[in-house]
């Protein structure tokens, strides 16, 4: 069997985590880094091999088969069971490629970026742990395995955000990230419990069954039908609960608050975890459950759409006003993930014979495609930002400006990625974003135009960032000590690789999309597993390109110059708006209020008081009562023999009298 080595994809990073975690402190920095990178290179090779084998295998009835090379029962739970295994289908194989590529780039990049840092070995150990967990998440054969690795990626993210543990903001950010996602995971868990209880299964074996309209598989007849019979609301409820979990991980409004703070972690980590892979876990989860969504909960999908639209708009608006380059990128990530969510949400059901019709296919395919392209160019942007921070030693845009002379490679790759995210033809972002907007237009023109507007905002704030960093006045004061210099090869090489992918994919898919060729993204990944040919809608493509170019021109007009009179005037005209956007529309403050004031002050503290004073007080009162009772009886035992005699005599007389009376 060609997939028999696939278990190594999970095992190798796990081993390198254990080796580095247990023995890392005794190693040289270089050795530790090499162990991590080598094992990851092997994983990458294996992933590419698996992907190659999977996508070149013969389709059955024009559909990629779902393959489960390994699956064993890890823990029996009554009539349910908790399995561990590997599931290969188009989306998991695609994710395999994305994760291993970005992770390998980050491993290489970190050699330069983390050079000489204390805890270098620990850093590589955590990277391995994260990679293992993320791969396990996408390869999961059942929802419980997914949840388990879901928690593991959460912990790896916690550990990596808090990598600089002596710094207070890093501690706070890591705690916040973990607790916010944990809060969302609680809903995920309840969703899993509901789903598992009513369908008697945690398995993903519906994948590939339902979308084909084959209502005859045992899983649908037995498990799903049972849940539907118990109540039509059950599957939608379970799915929405799971979506809340996904929204937490994917930083959807209002659970997005952890992601901007997570930028306290090392920049390569932000590139890997908080831009390319972990944050799209929520999108992946919806894609994984997509057959159920579309068959049994089509109405509930509008929740996904509107959450996505609100998030995309909100994050784009905030991104326009941030001054920390990583924060801009973080909000841009939130906004782009929201695009993917919207894309999945707008896939409305509709069968075309046995296969889903183009409409349902389009949104799903576009979402996955955007996930792929976004992972590449956003990782490139973050890594580029890392090079800049490495050179300038600050995240603040005010301290940058005019860096294009000093860092040519970073400049070019950053520009290409900006063009990609802005949606300019021949760059990868164009193909995927255009498909998303097309899908939205078909769903509802309102959503379509809103998304077009947000795409324009994206182009605007990305070029604001670009000009702020590479053009404009050079901050001579900040650079007085040493001039910024280009990063070493270990850091620029990943940038180049990611850029090549962005451009290569962009050029091919743009041409293929206009010409209607096969072999584009849709041929590999589509909702039904069929060969889906991408056809651009020329009208929409032209509109969105023109709008993107206009926004870029606007950004150029405002931000390119040495001084920025228009931008300054805008600040002065709308100080409150700017301040609100800068403060992220006070979302963090609201959450802070809820958690600290309400939960800590008004729930936990009274409960602790109640416990110490009321519950414990009751028992102390009982003890006190017993003590007092003893004290009061004690005076009878006076030790005065004459008193005893009086009592004795009185008693005798009384007794005698009583006896006489009877």
């Amino acid at each position: 069997m060609i997939y028999e080595l696939s278990y190594l994809i999970l095992l190798l990073p796990l081993l390198s985590f254990l080796v580095l975690g247990l023995a890392g402190m005794k190693m040289q920095h270089k050795t530790a880094g090499l162990i991590g990178t080598c094992s990851l290179s092997l994983v990458t090779l294996l992933s590419y091999w698996t992907a190659f084998a999977y996508f070149t295998a013969d389709r059955v009835n024009g559909i990629y088969q779902t393959i489960v090379p390994y699956n064993f029962t890890w823990l029996p739970l009554g009539n349910l069971h908790f399995d561990m295994g590997i599931l290969l289908d188009p989306i998991s194989v695609m994710m395999l490629v994305v994760i291993s590529t970005v992770s390998l780039m980050v491993h290489i990049y970190s050699f330069g970026y983390m050079h000489g840092e204390k805890g270098f070995q620990r850093y590589y150990a955590f990277l391995s742990l994260f990679t293992m967990s993320m791969l396990g998440l996408v390869l999961a054969t059942n929802i419980f395995q997914m949840y388990m690795f879901w928690e593991l990626v959460g912990v790896s993210s916690y550990l990596l955000i808090g990598f600089y543990y002596p710094l207070k903001p890093a501690i706070a950010a890591s705690k916040k990230a973990f607790i916010v996602t944990r809060f969302a995971d609680m809903f995920f868990l309840v969703g899993i419990l509901t789903f598992g209880y009513f369908t008697d299964s945690f398995s993903f074996s519906f994948a590939g069954d339902i979308v084909m309209g084959q209502g005859t598989t045992p899983f649908i007849e037995g498990n799903i039908a049972k849940a539907v019979a118990a109540g039509g609301f059950i599957i939608p409820t379970a799915l929405v609960l799971m979506f809340i979990g996904g929204a937490g991980k994917s930083a959807m409004f209002p659970l997005h608050i952890w992601l901007p703070d997570a930028m306290e972690g090392p920049t390569p980590v932000s590139a890997l975890i908080h831009a390319a892979t972990m944050v799209v876990a929520g999108v992946f989860q919806i894609a994984r459950m997509f057959p159920l969504w579309i068959e049994y909960a089509p109405q509930a999908m509008s929740i996904v759409v509107w959450v996505g639209v609100i998030t995309a708009f909100y994050a784009a608006a905030v991104a326009c006003a941030q001054s920390d380059i990583k924060r801009v990128l973080a909000f841009s990530t939130i906004s782009q993930i929201a695009f993917m969510m919207v894309a999945l949400g707008v896939s409305l059901p509709g069968h075309h014979g046995a296969v889903l019709d183009n409409h349902a296919q389009l949104g799903y395919m576009a979402g996955m495609f955007h996930l792929f392209t976004h992972a590449m160019f956003k990782a490139c942007l973050f890594l580029g930002a890392g090079c800049i921070i490495h050179a300038v030693h600050s995240n603040e845009m005010a301290l940058m400006g005019g860096l294009r002379k000093y860092m040519p490679i970073t400049h070019i790759t950053f520009l290409i990625s900006c063009l990609a995210i802005a949606g300019i033809p021949f760059f990868s972002g164009f193909s995927s974003k255009d498909e998303i907007i097309t899908a939205c237009m078909e769903y509802s023109p309102v959503v379509g135009w809103i998304m077009t507007g947000i795409a324009a905002m994206t182009a605007f704030y990305m070029f604001r960032l670009y000009y702020g960093i590479f053009w404009g006045t050079e901050n001579k004061e900040a650079h007085a000590h040493h001039t910024p210099h280009e990063a070493p090869l270990t850091m620029t090489l990943p940038l180049i690789v990611l850029c090549v992918i962005t451009v290569g994919v962009g050029v091919y898919t743009t041409i293929a999309g206009f010409a209607g060729w096969g072999g584009s993204f849709g041929s590999f990944v589509s909702a039904a597993g069929t060969d889906y040919t991408i056809h651009f809608n020329t009208q929409i493509a032209a509109t969105s390109t023109v709008i993107a170019i206009l926004s870029i021109c606007l950004a150029t007009y405002i931000y390119k110059g040495e001084s920025q009179p228009i931008a300054d005037r805008l600040y002065k005209t709308f100080p409150k708006l700017h301040r609100a956007a800068y403060k992220r529309f006070y979302q963090d403050e609201i959450w802070q209020y809820v958690t600290h004031r309400i939960i800590f002050r008004c729930v936990s503290t009274p409960i602790a008081w109640f416990d110490r004073h009321v519950v414990d007080g009751t028992f102390n009162f009982l003890a006190w009562g017993a003590n007092e009772g003893g004290e009061s009886l004690r005076s009878w035992q006076s030790g005065d023999v004459r008193k005893y005699a009086v009592w004795f005599l009185t008693g005798t007389v009384a007794l005698t009298l009583i006896l006489l009376c009877i």
């Binding site: 030790g639 009086v646 005599l649």
Partner: protein, 102 residues
């Protein structure tokens, strides 16, 4: 012949004088003397009742003699204790001995 009631009156008087003394006096010796009075009251009763109820028999008198013997021994022990108490507490007042008070 003295009527038998006189003995009873005498013994009753002695008994209550003894009890009164025991309850009111604080001096250990005085309390001991009071106890002796109570015992003597009992002795008189024994003798008087023996004479009244079983004339010609001697169990009551024997009991009286036995009681006198016991009270002698008891006084000896009590006085020994009192002397020791006095040595330890430098007092023969009952109120000074409160070590075993609860």
């Amino acid at each position: 012949m003295v009527p038998v009631e006189c003995y009873f009156v005498l013994s009753a008087l002695l008994f209550f004088i003894g009890v009164f003394g025991f309850v009111t006096r604080r001096n250990l010796i005085a309390m001991l003397i009071s106890i002796e009075l109570v015992l003597n009251a009992v002795d008189i009763n024994f003798a008087a009742f023996n004479r009244l109820l079983f004339p010609g028999e001697f169990e009551g008198f024997f009991m009286t003699l036995f009681s006198i013997g016991v009270s002698a021994a008891e006084s000896a022990v009590a006085i020994a204790i009192i002397i020791n108490v006095y040595r330890n507490f430098k007092s023969d007042s009952v109120e000074s001995i409160t070590n075993m008070k609860g």
